[in-house]
Symmetry: C2
Subunit: 192 residues, 2 copies
């Protein structure tokens, strides 16, 4: 029926991510994950090698999806405003499709071990690319001459928190939402 049905490992990672969002990585036990799947904790080890392995799977693939998205935005020849629109679209899309994993990406990354440095590298590169778009936009007079660090912080923290908010709004029209978000983040809310 399903075109490519979920493997048992993928199911474990998906269920674990939900629990990680509710309680955080450390507070979730292997017995919690197993119970939610209707099996015993020891059975999980037929499919994964460790609890750490689950966290790696949750975080790294999503972090790479952000990196890939940024690469294609970067390499397009769009102007600043269109690039910013595309970044907002990227976050709305990935956050609505992976709202559980986004929680770990934001809150549990410090519990990565072997893959911690790799994750940090991806994050720094993403921020560098974003900052470059803003600085180029200032140079081109597309955006105002405010501190690019503060702009980056302000926009990115909102985008990184979408996972908290999106799932609460059941009947959310994502396209309309993206447009409103663009308006508020980029054009401001004041009536001049």
């Amino acid at each position: 029926m399903s075109p490519k049905s979920e493997t048992r490992k993928e199911e474990i990672v998906r269920v674990a991510a939900q629990l990680f969002k509710e309680k955080g990585y450390t507070a979730v036990t292997m017995r919690d994950i197993a119970a939610k799947m209707g099996i015993k904790a020891a059975s999980l080890y037929n499919h994964i090698t460790s609890k750490q392995d689950i966290l790696d799977a949750v975080i790294i693939s999503l972090a790479e999806a952000f990196t890939n998205g940024m690469q294609s935005i970067k390499s397009s020849n769009n102007n600043t405003i269109d690039k910013l629109k595309q970044i907002i679209q990227l976050h709305v899309k990935l956050s609505s499709q992976n709202s559980y994993a986004m929680a770990s990406l934001n809150n549990d990354w410090m519990h990565l071990e072997e893959r911690l440095d790799y994750y940090k590298k991806l994050r720094v590169e993403y921020e560098d690319d974003f900052r470059t778009i803003l600085v180029d936009g200032i140079t081109a007079s597309d955006i105002i001459e405010a501190n690019p660090e503060v702009m980056l912080f302000s926009i990115l923290t909102t985008l990184r928190s979408l996972y908290i908010w999106i799932p609460k709004k059941e009947d959310l029209n994502l396209e309309e939402f993206t447009t409103t978000l663009y308006q508020i983040l980029i054009e401001g809310i004041i009536n001049k």
Copy 2:
């Protein structure tokens, strides 16, 4: 020397909050907290009654500080724009003075137990007050007619994340920063 020197309990709460920010509440052990203070875990219990007690102390007093700040902004007779400026000021001030506790407020509130409902009540009331300011601002044509839920989410998530960013900038001029933040959050970044 110090006008009102820190009690031992306050010291425990302060040290614990630093560790909670680094690793999250669940990942921090009583032995971690004790080690950082140069004593044994059992000795902590001369001053506090439980680990839970520490988390309560970290989170609740800060949550109440936000509530108190909002009360005085609400009851002032300022216009929408000045109220928004004051809210930004409140967050910058409390986040710079309590950057460790802010992390628990954002990430560890779900591990509150007896005080969980009280915390949730404070948070909902704070958001309701903020929303009312925005809706009144739309009515008064001070701000644009965008979805107030999206505005609230967008501004508040940035303000709630200040604790991540502020301590990284050593020589940050808080007053200048507040002004820049106001400009970006309220007036937008586009060059029209």
